[in-house]
């Protein structure tokens, strides 16, 4: 890859030429709308004086993708649609070598332990985000090291070729944790380079988009990241995520066990609760239609594997939607009790959209992506969409929630400042307010024309500047972005798109060898501008 392919040379040359020479050269490029037959990219000639063919040796090294989540490790090769392995962290990865207690008779999987305690589910997490302050970093280091080794030994089965790793991490990962992960990969895999990619941007690539609002419903927290042109613009978090949902499910199971007639003494293990959550958990729509009554009365029976006797627990199907209500949507919590750190999902999304600059907001609104394990919960996306839609319809895009005492004074203030000739301002004021967010509020248009002349100067529409219009048209046609950006502004709809996930995004990206602009080696095709830093020069970690 380090050697430049001639096509790049050609492009480079022509680009410099077009800048220096007359603009006619530039127009030649774009005058031909239909594509001429050309040599496919995969067979690009490798040197000006050489012949095609040496590019077959391009994929000499192993391109690996690692995605360390807080509950699962996904790893595999670039260019494949799915990771080769998805290893969940469990108590087994804590044990000594030669400790085979999980095969013991009477050994129940899924940890006992006090559910209220801090350590509930501790064994199933790779790290706690606050842990790096304590002295537990060494354990994380050991576990990462063991995980990488297991992953390589069982699934990746690498040969001796050099390894180039792409690591997908959330951009807010604390540096000590990142250090540990990098060390695990450099030492465990003997990786030559590691490229870091932020996971929300990768989710964006996995959906074929350049901008999106990425909602990652993970284990510890839900993060909502606004991405515009592959840059992270804003990020907001809430603790309403998998862990809280898990707790609610275990509460539900215990309640149901108390209700049942059989007097069974049973303590639910971590895995057991998770199994119920992932198998039969679901989420109601905003206004459940009455026809679903029959479904709601349906009973699901859950098997209690851990109890001494093989028994089943009957739970009505409608009950299984309750934990999501409480944990993720907060519909049972009064609004007063909701704090900034535990905003329900739809509110979190609404707040981050609201705080975005207005043109980024209209781009992100139409491209909402869900990733993360909990987003697989059936019905969750539908519900969040409905809630968000209702919220926007109710509140619009106004940052001020409540004008308080100013509500009454608003009208006289406007009249005086606006220097208006006629006192018939009531339709005008309504119009003016609406004009500000013309793009987003409903029912504007029609009434526009009669009052336009009487508008104050700051509310009047921008005078059209033919030159800048032409310029912007030109740049837009060159960049060939989506028509929604180029066409006349219409009211944007909130729209959810699907993504293949951060892992698949990174797999696409590194397989095509689209270089990041800031990556170390020169000569690559930099089509994208990513927040990626190649760690090719990271002397600390290099061997020897």
């Amino acid at each position: 890859m380090s050697s430049q392919t001639p096509s790049q040379d050609l492009r480079k040359a022509s680009l410099t030429a077009s800048r220096n020479a007359r603009p006619s050269a530039h127009t030649i490029q774009h005058s031909d709308p239909t594509r001429s037959p050309h040599t496919p990219l995969s067979r690009s000639v490798s040197g000006l004086y050489g012949s095609p063919g040496s590019s077959f040796r391009v994929d000499e090294d192993n391109l690996l993708i690692f995605d360390f989540g807080s509950r699962y490790l996904r790893a595999g090769f670039a260019g494949e649609p799915a990771p080769r392995c998805e290893i969940g962290y469990g108590p087994d990865s804590w044990r000594r070598v030669g400790d085979y207690r999980q095969w013991d008779l009477g050994c129940y999987p899924g940890g006992k332990g006090n559910r209220d305690g801090e350590d509930w589910g501790r064994e199933y997490e790779l790290w706690r985000l606050l842990e790096w302050e304590g002295g537990e970093m060494g354990v994380v280091e050991d576990r990462v090291e063991r995980l990488v080794r297991e992953c390589e030994g069982r699934y990746l089965l690498l040969d001796g070729r050099s390894k180039r790793v792409t690591l997908v991490v959330p951009s807010g990962l604390p540096r000590p944790l990142l250090n540990v992960v990098l060390k695990g990969l450099f030492e465990g895999l003997q990786a030559a380079t590691i490229t870091l990619m932020p996971s929300p941007v990768m989710a964006c690539v996995g959906a074929g988009l350049r901008s999106a609002l990425v909602v990652d419903v993970g284990w510890f927290e839900t993060t909502v990241t606004a991405i515009c042109e592959f840059r992270e613009v804003e990020c907001r978090r809430s603790i309403r995520a998998g862990k809280l949902l898990h707790e609610e499910f275990s509460n539900l199971l215990e309640e149901e066990l108390g209700k049942s007639e059989q007097q069974i003494k049973h303590q639910f293990g971590f895995e057991e609760v998770e199994e119920v959550m992932t198998r039969v958990g679901w989420c109601r729509p905003l206004n459940p239609p009455t026809t679903e009554e029959e479904i709601n009365s349906k009973i699901i029976n859950t098997t209690l594997a851990n109890s001494e006797t093989y028994t089943t627990l009957d739970i009505p199907f409608s009950r299984l939607a309750d934990p999501a209500e409480t944990a993720l949507l907060g519909s049972k919590t009064p609004k007063v009790d909701i704090d900034d750190h535990d905003l329900p999902l739809h509110q979190l999304m609404y707040t981050s959209l609201l705080h975005l600059p207005i043109d980024i907001r209209r781009i992100c609104m139409t491209r909402i992506l869900f990733t993360g394990g909990v987003s697989q919960l059936p019905g969750l996306k539908r519900r969040v969409y409905q809630e968000l839609d209702a919220l926007v319809a109710e509140k619009g895009w106004n940052l001020v929630k409540n004008y308080g005492s100013a509500t009454g004074k608003k009208r006289p203030l406007r009249e005086r400042s606006a220097n208006l000739p006629t006192p018939s301002t009531s339709p005008l004021e309504v119009h003016a307010v609406k004009h500000i967010d013309r793009d987003h509020s409903s029912s504007i248009s029609t009434k526009d024309t009669p009052t336009t002349l009487s508008l104050p100067p700051h509310l009047q529409p921008q005078e059209s500047d033919p030159i800048s219009e032409k310029l912007s048209r030109l740049t837009l046609s060159q960049s060939t972005t989506t028509p929604s950006l180029t066409t006349a502004p219409t009211k944007p709809q909130i729209c959810i798109l699907k993504t293949l996930g951060p892992w698949a995004g990174a797999s696409l990206l590194s397989n095509l060898r689209i270089r990041g602009a800031s990556s170390g080696k020169g000569g690559g095709v930099s089509k994208y501008v990513f927040f990626c830093c190649s760690l090719a020069v990271y002397p600390q970690f290099r061997r020897g």
Partner: protein
């Protein structure tokens, strides 16, 4: 620990070497420097200890560094790949292109993970049985849980190349193109559509294709996206491609001039950004709430039994499904034979023969043959090797002796060191008086310094007349075999401080006295109360073992601190390590 008591774990020395490149905070640097001065004792209960303790059988030994090597401090190289089910050796190029699973007909049951067999669907008639190739259809069936591929609606025409046939069939018998065909198809679609002005026309060819009958899955979207990105890359490449290459254009002249101007770097222009994907053919997936409604309805009507368990989901190759009817048979994972090298000096530690069918090793340097073996057992019981032939009941009875230690009662254990080396060794043992942790068990080694004989030929001992004269009561060859006179208290022997208990050809036993501590939660416990955590009742004594011996000099690769030349050709060596003795379990 759930291992059988008693047991010994060795702490690999790679923990002490500062491999950690983590920038240490000031506080921890200070803590480390202060702890370095006073040689901290090893704590088997610390959370990191679990990752550095190994049974002796799991350890290798580096003959250059003279240290034991665990899986952390070795690097591995794959020698060959093979399928554990059909024992077919897979070449590395195939592993690269086809993946880490068997590409022949080895499949595992998605329900219970046992092997699947290819069977005829109908019982063959007489005529068919004689035929060379019985006519299909065939199915995959599990002999353990009776799952068959009919459950997911898949039948096969041929009995071989199941993988190739499975790629073309989706659950329910829907024929789909293979991944390669899919990719070609997606590329063709994109080529038909030069720019997005004609996007309306794109949908029609998609509907004609067979893939349109089945709803596209994640793999389809991936290949669509992939070819979309590729076409975007190609787009900008061709804009400056050979089509434009003519001598009359100023750009070409400029380029030619650039060719001959040496060393002058042309500044790269700002590349054209890619556009977003716009259609399904380009990999855009729209979310529809109807699919979720359908999912919930299916969940409600089919119930718990129809959904997949977490273990079944993780066993799938990719895209774990929610319902059992969507499960796919899983191809067997390949396995490898690996050689291991020391991470510090790259010496080969173990190298199996690369053929799949042999289990022999070309090189295998075990710690078992190079490090003295430390073992412990209760003084009152008969040695374990005696019981190997007996039924498990007696062994469980013996286990009871170890698992019912009473607090504050003295117990005597026999610590035996066996020397695998051909030189006599001098051993020094050390242990903290009380074990670390909340349960403080007092440990005393009655004789911490002693010698162990060399591992000479077994017959040397028997033939050597002087030694038998010196020991009127003949010592056996191995400590486990000293059955003639079980060394117990009935022998009239008393444990004495500063004296070894027993001695053989290449082994020596000493007495260790253990007074188990009080468990938290019991009235006698002093200190912070609370519940007994998992494994807190297990008595584990950390013991530091230092071994000194003189051996034939090897010269090169020796570290000067460790080896001092003694006389001609002899070197003084020192090996030191921590090990953990699992003595038993305290009863509350």
């Amino acid at each position: 620990m759930s291992q059988q008591f008693p047991y010994t774990y060795y702490s690999c020395s790679c923990v002490d070497t500062p491999t950690s490149l983590l920038p240490l905070s000031r506080k921890s640097v200070e803590a480390r420097s202060s702890s370095d001065e006073e040689e901290t004792t090893f704590d088997p209960r610390s959370s990191r200890a679990n990752f550095s303790l190994y049974p002796l059988e799991h350890l290798l030994y580096c003959t250059e560094c003279h240290q034991m090597r665990c899986s952390r401090c070795t690097t591995e190289e794959v020698l060959c790949w093979y399928c554990p089910s059909c024992l077919f050796e897979v070449p590395s190029s195939t592993v690269r292109s086809e993946g880490n699973r068997c590409t022949r007909s080895c499949y595992n049951c998605p329900i219970c993970t046992s092997f699947l067999t290819v069977n005829l669907l109908d019982a063959p008639t007489e005529a068919q049985r004689d035929a060379e190739q019985p006519p299909g259809p065939f199915i995959l069936s599990c002999s353990y849980c009776n799952w068959t591929s009919l459950d997911i609606g898949i039948k096969f025409d041929k009995a071989n190349n199941i993988t190739g046939q499975l790629q073309r069939v989706r659950n329910g018998g829907i024929i789909v193109p293979t991944p390669k065909e899919r990719e070609n198809q997606a590329e063709r679609l994109l080529r038909k559509q030069p720019n997005h002005e004609e996007e309306e026309e794109v949908k029609s060819p998609l509907e004609e294709t067979p893939a349109a009958q089945a709803p596209p899955d994640a793999d389809d979207f991936f290949s669509n996206l992939n070819s979309f990105y590729k076409s975007q890359l190609a787009d900008t490449e061709t804009s400056a491609g050979p089509a434009e290459f003519n001598v009359h254009s100023p750009s070409s002249i400029q380029r030619l001039l650039n060719l001959y101007s040496t060393g002058k770097k042309t500044k790269r222009g700002k590349p054209k950004p890619m556009r977003e994907s716009l259609t399904t053919a380009e990999g855009l997936q729209e979310y529809s709430s109807s699919s979720e409604e359908e999912l919930i309805h299916r969940l409600a009507t089919s119930g718990w039994e129809a959904t997949t368990s977490p273990s079944q989901r993780s066993f799938q190759e990719r895209h774990p499904p929610r319902f059992t009817s969507d499960l796919r048979p899983t191809a067997t994972l390949l396995r490898t034979k690996r050689s291991k090298r020391c991470k510090t000096c790259r010496t080969l530690l173990s190298r199996p023969e690369p053929k799949v069918n042999t289990t022999r090793y070309k090189i295998k340097v075990l710690a078992l043959n190079n490090i003295p073996k430390v073992s412990i057992r209760s003084l009152n019981t008969t040695p374990q090797s005696l019981l190997t032939d007996l039924v498990t009941i007696s062994s469980s009875m013996q286990q009871k002796e170890y698992t019912t230690l009473h607090p504050l009662m003295p117990y005597q254990f026999l610590l035996t060191l066996t020397n695998p080396l051909f030189d006599p060794i001098k051993v020094t043992l050390a242990t903290p008086t009380t074990t670390p942790g909340r349960v403080q068990t007092r440990v005393t080694i009655l004789c911490p310094q002693f010698d162990v004989g060399a591992n000479t030929d077994v017959w040397d001992d028997a033939l050597n007349s002087t030694s038998s004269q010196n020991n009127p009561k003949r010592k056996s060859a191995a400590p486990g075999l000293s059955v003639a006179s079980p060394p117990d208290n009935s022998d009239g022997k008393q444990a004495e401080a500063g004296k070894i208990w027993d001695k053989g050809r290449n082994w020596t036993s000493v007495i260790v006295e253990v007074v188990p501590g009080v468990l938290p939660g019991t009235p006698a416990f002093v200190g912070e109360g609370g519940e007994v955590r998992e494994d807190e009742g297990v008595v584990e004594c950390p013991v530091f073992v230092k071994v000194e011996y003189e051996s034939e000099g090897l010269g090169a690769g020796e570290t000067p601190e460790r080896v001092r030349m003694v006389g001609e050709g002899k070197e003084k060596r020192e090996v030191a390590f921590w090990c953990v003795l699992g003595v038993g379990k305290i009863v509350g």
